[in-house]
């Protein structure tokens, strides 16, 4: 079973040289720590920055320089600041090659829910609806099941949607899955996790073809 850091590490393997990438709050943010050597990736933060760097030292902290998670950060050489409309212009125009974000539910059609639990929690969608409606390539990073042990990979999302038919890949603590043709396709198992365990934890339609390798 993978820890959060391992999920991030696995997703980092999907990055390609020259890509612009938007990382959501939580596990997705950790992906930045595992960018493979020789791969030049530029991080987009939707509050208005291309070229996000690591956290600052205590001495160099700047209240005017934060990421979309409101964390103080730094910039890389060649970075650029812009306003919110320009930020989502590049997102909607598909210039960001990969979006990684968390989810409360994902279903076999690629629908995603991550912004609202009716009557209980409404934090808002932030930039997530724009991101999932725009990116070609959307990877969800999340636990396979919720705290109650229920599957988060469903045949149909039960919570209010963030976007429809948009998630292309999911990396969980148990597996890597692709979504296509109305089903979850199991690609890889986490080390020490059996296909049976993944089956049991997946409520939606799961396709298992041939031997499923261990995670790369």
């Amino acid at each position: 079973m993978l820890k959060k850091e391992d999920i991030a590490k696995r997703i980092a393997q999907e990055l390609k040289d020259g890509w612009y990438v938007n990382l959501g709050i939580g596990i997705p943010t950790l992906v930045a720590n595992y960018i493979p050597e020789g791969i030049d990736v530029t991080l987009q933060s939707e509050n208005g920055l291309l070229g996000m760097g690591p956290f600052p030292t205590k001495e160099s902290i700047d209240a005017d320089l934060i990421n979309a998670g409101k964390q103080t950060i730094t910039t890389m050489p060649g970075s650029v600041f812009f306003d919110s409309s320009d930020s989502f212009a590049m997102i909607r125009a598909g210039k960001v090659q990969l979006t990684v974000l968390g989810a409360m539910e994902v279903d076999q059609n690629g629908d995603i829910a991550n912004w609202k639990i009716p009557g209980k929690m409404v934090k808002g969608m932030g930039g997530a609806m724009d991101l999932v409606a725009s990116a070609e390539n959307i990877i969800v990073a999340m636990m396979h099941t919720n705290r109650a042990g229920e599957s988060k990979l469903l045949d149909k999302c039960s919570l209010p949607l963030t976007g429809v038919k948009c998630v292309t890949k999911i990396v969980t603590n148990l597996a890597v899955l692709e979504i296509k043709d109305g089903a979850f396709h199991l690609l890889e198992r986490a080390p020490g996790v059996s296909v049976e365990e993944i089956k049991a934890a997946t409520a939606g339609k799961l396709i298992i073809k041939g031997d499923i390798p261990n995670m790369i």
Binding site: N47, F55, K58, Q71, S84, S85, K123, G124, M125, V164
Partner: protein
């Protein structure tokens, strides 16, 4: 025609109950903290509709106005850092219209660009699209969003000149330029107010034509929400 006002009280003159305000900032970064504080000291100003990406925190930014029950309605994209907000929202005291962040930014920009409506893919197939027209372009579905304008837009800039030209710093820019465009009256509070000609005309983010009142604020607190460091 003088745009420079002598202090924050003169800047907010004319803001009245029932008006629609836009307030720049993302989280607490780049918010017009001086004007917000001044409005909170005028509790007779009530029933405001506030358009702002976030709603401040309990004891800073728009949190002040929430605590005073000066806000009737919020139009925001993310409101997750404020307990009083959540309480008012769940109890029905506060009306909340959640809007995708990119749509919110574009709705402000459109309002400030004389464009009454535009198509965007954000929110298609979700609650956000309910009651809105949809249309297909090149095989993809879009929803029609209408623009936003305000009675007063209140923004915070790094530097400004007496003609109203503004320069923002780092990610404190965020919603400020698009909201500055969309105000019937736009108020800018700045850290440094300079004379015309001191800002390079190539480097101005908001042309002064969009700004009606400007003043220099003192002692900015610039509170940090997530103080993350590498050491």
């Amino acid at each position: 025609m003088k745009k420079v006002v002598k202090n924050v009280d003169e800047a907010i003159e004319g803001i009245q109950s029932g008006m629609t305000l836009m307030l720049g900032g993302f989280g607490l970064c780049g918010i017009p903290e001086k004007c917000i504080e001044a409005i909170s000291k005028r509790p007779e100003i009530k029933d405001l509709t506030c358009i702002s990406n976030n709603a401040g925190v309990d004891d800073f930014g728009l949190g002040f106005l929430l605590k005073n029950h000066q806000i009737k309605k919020m139009i925001s994209s993310y409101v997750g850092e404020n307990e009083e907000f959540e309480r008012q929202m769940l109890s029905g005291e506060l009306e909340v219209e959640l809007t995708p962040q990119g749509s919110l930014a574009e709705k402000c920009r459109a309002g400030g660009a004389g464009i009454p409506a535009f198509y965007t893919p954000a929110g298609y197939g979700t609650e956000v699209a309910e009651g809105k027209e949809t249309r297909e372009y090149n095989g993809k579905m879009y929803i029609l969003e209408e623009s936003l304008v305000s009675d007063f837009s209140i923004v915070k800039a790094w530097k400004g000149d007496t003609k109203g030209n503004l320069v923002f710093k780092a990610t404190a820019r965020n919603f400020n330029p698009v909201m500055a465009m969309a105000g019937k009256i736009t108020i800018a509070e700045v850290e440094y107010l300079v004379e015309p000609g001191e800002l390079d005309p190539n480097e101005i983010h908001t042309p002064g034509i969009f700004v009606h009142r400007i003043f220099e604020g003192k002692n900015y607190e610039k509170r940090i929400e997530q103080r993350t460091t590498s050491n």
